[in-house]
C-alpha cells in the first residue's frame, strides 16, 4: 500500500511547545512517527547563567505557563541542595498548596481538551468552567492566576493570610460535585470506553525503557511518584494515595489524572487546615560553590533541575529537564500501529500541551492537500458519533 506522509504542526496559538510531527501512514494505519522540536527554544539554560540566583527563579518560571510552579519549585530545591538546608515548615506547606493547585488546574485543562478532541464538548466546557474556580483560588493565594511568583531560594515570597483560608476552602469544595459528575461521565460512558480503551497502549516495559514519567507511566503500572519516593514539601505529612492503573491506554491515563485531582484537593485542604505557624523564609545571602539537584512531581511528571555554583551570585550551569522531554518519545511506542483518527487522542493523552491539531494537514504523496487539522478533529469526533449511534447510547 502507498505510504502517505502526514505533517502535523508546528505552530498553534494554544500550543506552548511548538512541535512538528511527521506521521507516515499506510491507508488508515500509522506506520512511523518522527518529532522535530526546537521551534520555541529560547536558550533559557544559557539565559539563567547570566542572571543571579534570585533572578533565575523568575526566568525559569516563564518556561511554561501551566507549570509555572513546577520549575521554580525544582530550581529552588536544587539551590537549597547546594547549601544542604531545609526550608521552614510553613514555607513547605505553602509550596505544597501552590503546587497542588497547579496540578488541579493542569489536569482539568487536559481533561477539557481530551473531551474536545473526542467530540465531548460538554466535558470541555464543564472542566474549564471549574478550572476557573481554581485559578481564582490561586489569585487569592498568590495574587496571580498564572506565574505565581511565590518561590525563592530558601522559602516563599508571600504568606497565606488566615482570613483568606475559609474563602479558599469554600471555592475548592464547590468544584467537587462537578468533578464527581465528570468522573462518572468518563468512567461509566460506554462510548468513551470504545474510543479510549485499548487505544495507544504504552506497556510497562516500554514506559521504563523510555523513562516515561508522571501519569503517563503510572497509567502503565509503574508505581512511581516523586512525592512518595522522595518526599519534599509537606507530602510526607499528609495522607494521600498514589493513583496507579495497569493498562497503559488512553482511558487509564484519563482515569489516573481525574483521580489524582481528587487527591490534590485532599492535600490542599489538609495543608490549609493544618498550616503551621512560623517563618516563611530563610533569607539566604550567599550560595557556596557546589552542585545541587532538585526534582519534584509536576502535573506531567518529574521536573528535574541541576544547578552548579562557583561561589559567585550566578549559576555557572543550570540544566532543566521538563517531563514532556521524556514523555514525547513514547509516541514511537504508542502511535505506531494505530489509526489516524486515534492519533490525535493518543498524542493528547500524554498531555504535552498538545493543541496543534488545527495545524494538521493530511497530504498524499504528490503533496496534494486532502484534510486540514480542523477536519481531522472532526474525523475523530465523527468516529465517536458513529460509535454512539451504533451502540444506541
Amino acid at each position: 500500500m502507498a505510504r502517505t506522509i502526514v505533517p502535523i504542526g508546528p505552530y498553534h496559538p494554544l500550543l506552548e511547545e511548538p512541535e512538528f510531527f511527521t506521521l507516515t501512514v499506510e491507508g488508515e494505519r500509522v506506520v512511523d512517527i518522527d518529532v522535530r522540536m526546537g521551534y520555541n527554544h529560547r536558550g533559557i539554560e544559557k539565559l539563567s547563567e547570566m542572571k543571579t540566583f534570585d533572578q533565575s527563579t523568575f526566568v525559569i518560571e516563564r518556561i511554561c505557563g501551566i507549570c509555572s510552579t513546577s520549575h521554580p519549585f525544582a530550581y529552588t530545591r536544587a539551590v537549597e541542595d547546594i547549601i544542604t538546608v531545609e526550608v521552614p515548615e510553613r514555607a513547605k506547606y505553602i509550596r505544597t498548596i501552590i503546587a497542588e493547585g497547579e496540578r488541579i488546574h493542569s489536569h482539568l485543562l487536559w481533561l477539557g481538551l481530551a473531551g474536545h478532541f473526542l467530540g465531548y464538548n460538554t466535558v470541555f466546557m464543564w472542566a474549564w468552567k471549574i478550572r476557573e474556580e481554581i485559578l481564582d483560588v490561586m489569585e487569592i493565594l498568590s495574587g496571580n492566576r498564572n506565574n505565581y511568583a511565590m518561590f525563592k531560594p530558601g522559602g516563599v515570597r508571600r504568606d497565606i493570610k488566615s482570613e483568606d483560608i475559609p474563602e479558599v476552602l469554600k471555592k475548592i469544595d464547590s468544584i467537587v460535585p462537578t468533578l464527581e459528575m465528570l468522573k462518572k461521565a468518563v468512567i461509566d460512558d460506554p462510548v468513551l470506553h470504545a474510543r479510549t480503551k485499548g487505544i495507544g497502549i504504552l506497556s510497562k516495559a516500554d514506559a521504563i525503557n523510555y523513562g516515561a514519567l508522571g501519569p503517563t507511566s503510572r497509567a502503565s503500572g509503574v508505581a512511581r511518584d516523586v512525592r512518595k519516593d522522595s518526599p519534599y514539601g509537606a507530602y510526607d505529612k499528609v495522607e494521600w494515595e498514589m493513583i496507579v492503573a495497569q493498562n497503559g491506554d488512553v482511558f487509564d491515563k484519563a482515569v489516573v489524572r481525574i483521580l489524582e485531582t481528587f487527591e490534590s484537593i485532599k492535600i490542599i485542604k489538609h495543608c490549609l487546615l493544618n498550616l503551621p505557624e512560623g517563618e516563611i523564609d530563610l533569607n539566604i545571602k550567599n550560595i557556596p560553590p557546589g552542585e545541587g539537584i532538585g526534582h519534584i512531581e509536576a502535573p506531567r511528571g518529574e521536573t528535574f533541575h541541576y544547578v552548579k555554583s562557583d561561589g559567585t551570585n550566578r549559576p555557572v550551569r543550570h540544566k532543566v529537564r521538563a517531563p514532556t522531554f521524556m514523555n514525547l518519545p513514547t509516541f514511537k511506542a504508542t502511535v505506531v500501529g494505530e489509526t489516524i483518527s486515534d492519533a490525535t487522542i493518543i498524542m493528547a493523552a500524554i498531555d504535552p500541551c498538545y493543541c496543534c491539531t488545527e495545524r494538521m494537514a493530511v497530504r498524499n504523496t504528490e503533496g496534494k492537500k486532502l484534510y486540514n487539522g480542523e477536519e481531522l478533529v472532526k474525523l475523530s469526533q465523527k468516529k465517536t458519533e458513529k460509535i454512539r449511534q451504533e451502540s444506541g447510547c
Binding site: N209, G211, D229, I293, H295, R321, F325, P329
Partner: protein, 157 residues
C-alpha cells in the same frame, strides 16, 4: 539493599572503573568514573539495581567537558550522578541508546549544545537548534561567541 550496601557493592564490583566517590548528602552521591566504562556501569545500575534514568547534564568546566548521568534508585531514595570527564581534545563517549531508549534525545541535545560525539547513536540529528544554525557552533560552550545572524535576519526568518 540499603544505601551503604549499594555503594560498597559498586565500589567493589567496579573498583577499576571508579575514580572518585563524593558522598554529598543522604540523598545525593556523585561518582566519577572512567569514560570508557560508562556502558558497563550504566547497564548494571539500570538493569540490576532497577534505577530510573533522570537525565544527563553536559557541563563545560573549561578544563574538561563533563557529562553527569543522573539516576535515581527510588526504593532507597538515592540520586546517583555518574560523572565522566572528557578531555577537550577527544570529545566522544559511547552512546547509551543500546541500554535504554530514554538516552536518545538527551544525547542529541548534548551533541548539538556542547559538540560531544556519541559513538553508536542511531540518529544524531539536531533536536533544538534551527536549521540555519552554523555547523560547529555550540551555544553552551564557555568559548561560545555570538555569531553573525545578519544572513538570517535579511531573509526575514
Amino acid at each position: 539493599m540499603t544505601r551503604e550496601d549499594i555503594l560498597n557493592d559498586l565500589s567493589v564490583r567496579f573498583k577499576d572503573d571508579i575514580i572518585d566517590v563524593f558522598d554529598k548528602s543522604p540523598k545525593r552521591v556523585y561518582v566519577e568514573i572512567k569514560p570508557e566504562s560508562i556502558v558497563k556501569l550504566v547497564s548494571y545500575i539500570f538493569k540490576d539495581l532497577g534505577a530510573r534514568f533522570n537525565i544527563a547534564t553536559g557541563v563545560d568546566t573549561r578544563q574538561h567537558m563533563e557529562i553527569l548521568y543522573h539516576f535515581i534508585i527510588e526504593d532507597i531514595n538515592l540520586l546517583v550522578s555518574l560523572r565522566v570527564k572528557l578531555p577537550k581534545s577527544k570529545l566522544e563517549i559511547d552512546s547509551l541508546v543500546s541500554v535504554f531508549e530514554a538516552a536518545n534525545w538527551i544525547e542529541r541535545e548534548i551533541h548539538e549544545m556542547l559538540g560531544i560525539n556519541f559513538n553508536g547513536h542511531p540518529d544524531l540529528r539536531r533536536l533544538f537548534l534551527s536549521d540555519e544554525w552554523p555547523e560547529g557552533v555550540h551555544p553552551l560552550r564557555c568559548d561560545y561567541k555570538e555569531w553573525d545572524k545578519k544572513a538570517i535576519r535579511d531573509r526575514g526568518v
